[in-house]
Amino acid sequence: MTLLILCDHDRGTLAEASLEALTFGRDLAQRAGLTCEAVLIGDGAESAAGPLAAHGAVRVHLASHAQLTDYGPEAWGETLTQLARSTGATAVMACGTDRGNEVIAHVAARLDEPFVANCIEVTPGDTWTTTRVQWGGSLLEDATLDAGQRLVTVAHHAVEATPADTPADCSLVQFTPDLGEEATRTVVRDRVVLTQGITLATAPVVVGGGRGVGSEDGFAPLEDLAGALGGVVGCSRAVTNNGWRPHSDQVGQTGTRIAPEIYIAAGISGAIQHWVGAMAAKNILAVNTDAEANMVTKAGYAVIGDLHKVIPAITEEVARRKG
């Protein structure tokens, strides 16, 4: 009666998210009367095993194979499938990261079992019941899981990774999957650092300026902050209309639609036309003197104040922390 928990690592470096999965999984295992066992796959996996016992894994399966040189969704999926079959696991889970969801989906396809992604609650029973995240967290779905082997991922950040009260007495078990050419055709072949310039459309950070910036020169501090964060500068339509920035910098319906990790909107009131271009940002930080400005209301985070003072202060603080 096993709960297998896939622990992700990148060439031996354990992903933090894996500990979230373990934290969630050991509690689930306890409630379901299962043993909590971790799975590490591929070259370098052993060096990632360290913290797993402390987080409640009573066994760590180390899967290795000559073709498992790096991450490969099909190879990992096939490996985990074989392990699930051979252990007769009651359930298999992972953290709902890109990799976790991908590998469990492969297991699900191979076992022809249902897979419930991004759960925040799982209640075992004859039929498991789950609560999972939809719409990026705006909605929750209660769903039942009726399966021979139960496959779930736990939503990233749903739990905080915490060590178990008492570390498990943990053993390492080697596992060698039987992998054909088909399973290894999608193993990572190379890693590249993107050399081309970051664009507004792809930048992880965009620092946007609006009417409140006041002038062409007023964008210099925004450039500094964007530079410090490896991002780029964008602007609202009022800015391009005033000729302070080229149209190619414009975020909005008639400019570029951006989707950065964070959009820092400085001195932008937040006209709908601008919002349409910015709303796909994962996070928005508004810097505005007016606490009731549209952008402030719609943003997840805000600093109330004059951007001419706030932005340089942020740049300074970034530099200080980077040392």
Binding site: T254, S269, N294
Partner: protein
Amino acid sequence: MSEFPNRANVVVIGAGIVGSCLVGHLARLGWTDIILLDKGPLPNPGGSTGHASNFIFPVDHNKEMALLGEQSANQFRDMDLSVDCGGIEVARTEERMEELRRRMTSAKAWGIEAHLLSPREVRELVPFVNDDVILGGFYCPTVSVVDSLETGTTMRKEAIDTAGCQVYANTEVLDIETVEGDGGVTTVSAVVTDKGTISTDYVVVACGVWSNRIANMAGATIPLVPTVHQMADVGPIDILAETNNEIGYPIVRDMDSFCYERQSAGSMEVGSYGHRAILHHPDEIPSNEEAALSPTEMPFTPDDFDEQMEQAIELMDMLGEAEIRYAINGLLSLTPDGMPCLGETTEVRNLWSAAAVWVKEGPGMAQVVAEWMTYGYPRVIDAHGADISRFYEGERSDEHIWSRADESFIKTYGIVHPQEQWGGRRNIDVGPYFSRQQDLDAMFFQARTWERPQWFGSNADLVERYGIEERPVEWDNRWWSPITVGEHLNLRENCGLVDLSAFQVYELDGPGAVAFADQLAVNKIDVAVGRSIYTPWLTPDGGFHSDLTMMRMGEDRVRIVTGVFDGGRDEFWVRKHMPTDGSVTFHNITRQVTTLGLWGPNAPAVLGQLTDHDLSQNGSSYGSIVPIQLACGGRMVDASLFRISYVGDTGWEIYVDWDNGPALWDALMGAGADLGIRPTGGGVYGSSGRLEKGYRLMGAELESEYNPLEAGLARPKVKAADFIGREAYLAARENGDPEVLMTVLTVEDQTDSHGRRRFMQGGNEPILLPDGGRIVDSHGRASRVTSAGFGPSVGKHLLMAYLPRELAIPGTDLQVMYMNDLYPVAVASTGAVFDADDTRMKS
């Protein structure tokens, strides 16, 4: 943030263009303790202002809309938040070209520069227009684009800085509380919000598409419906981006595809009024949080837009390759009659409406409301067409509002005839003779909700009898019939029976009735029982609020008879000013009495068959009301004979109980059968008969911008009793001769530049000097046609217009513009052009 306030003098709900400008104007007029609320954030709270296309085409046939548009455009200019980009309305059809000529005429009337352009000239101004698909254009260089959100911010700031106005965004109104005030009048008392309750003396609803819902919280209605106007922003387009500004090319209104193309920096905004009417209940509008864009930017329904898109590409080929980057079903407000809803609500005292106002007239309308609240009446312009009290009960239901909006949406860019009638929601209010009139093939015109025969098809034989011709141009013929001339001539020769059931009839009762009536009226009401008084009601500033007949029916009873177009406004005016001590009670008896007009040389002979009463001026003198019994179908019917005439021939308004109306109709028609009686329509009563006598009509000649001296309705003496507007009226009299006078003019040659005989409609056509110059008085009031119609008995087309006194002299030669052609006119009179000494009426 300071603690949420619990007390205000005035709470304005809605921080769009209207509410924001309103607090600014209230501050300018000295108001303090103003609170402005909006449930959304600022500067764009999510209403219609936030997605407005923000342009102003100043030329409108309607005077209120044109002048307030111009007034608003100037306020935007004063704030430096406006660019004069110019605008061109292009025509694809000859019918539209004619409409553009009509627009040239209105431009002249309001003094707005405009030019008719050839297709090539249009292309010179807008090089990407395909001049092959158009016949011409109407170019107005002062068409402007404004920044409505920044204007709101500026006006709010002014109110905050000068009057300490407090602005609370993200504050939702949950309820509006009322109390029973003096005399049991429901009066606003507080606004309940999600942040707290504010007790207040005044509340203004400036909530755009949500206005009716908010007013309903207090038990009031603001009849409007949120309606979709589709817009798509397409681009980028190089030629537009190259102007390096918000707008560098004139806006093009492609009138025949009900579309506009307005540059918006590097892209083109294509807006449509050509799709099906898409109406929403306010409850269907999502909240700021629920909306994908803003609440009033609803999901685009592309199928509705495709036809306009094809036509847009036809006009501007470059649009075909432009990308549709942003498209919405934007919401705006439509009312049952296309005019805004301004003024105090009729249901709740001190609850005001500033709604159904678009950006283009926002600042001006806000000024109107602020002045109204301050002075008891707007000063910047006569706003009777926007007065919310104009609506009758039957016009305030969703059924009515939706039907009208459904029908009128397509008319936004349509060619609308001044007399155009509605197709739906007819026969809401009909007189007791309706079925008889239907049998007589009556053509009904609807006055607000009331059906009135305009002419009777059964009188078609009169056309031949009097040899009357059709008018040569279809537009002049539209909503007109030569029968109406036949009915006129028959009335002058024999007699006519006119249905006046749509008169709005009220009675004031009680010990204070006569004194109160005197308070309302310029002329003395405290006269002998049985006398009638034709009198203006003035505004506090001495202009016309109304013009009607009052009758001393008894010691403590006064009857008020007013026209159907003004009934709502007049009833509200009475209720608002009525003493609250119980000394006067008000009764609307419109549906209890019915009135028939019997006029013409044979009228006494006809009526004489129903009574033995002395019907001479001895027994029924002009202006008197005589109770009498009339023999109708073998029984006696109580009636009041009111000897008066609005058509210029002798006769009576005969008042009987509503239920006795049909019997009276039958009796009079029977009695008149051998005396040439004919049912006679509004074409005679309201137009040709009236015009020949030079009688003024409220809402046409009579407006709050003019006083009784100018209208020629001042009496030699002013009564001693106080009345509303007395002080201003006395001051005007002391100023000596009025600057302008109301006149009747005759068109001396009706032939247009194509050799056709034309008939002006009375739609504000400008009266011009012989050199073509406009005639404008020191108050900026332009001379324009207030009423027009053919005078069959004088054989001339007649126009009414105010003229400066030095021109208001019979024989003065002037011109009138109609459809962009000029016609010679001559001043005929400041009174009647037919039977000037009233011999026919009074002998």
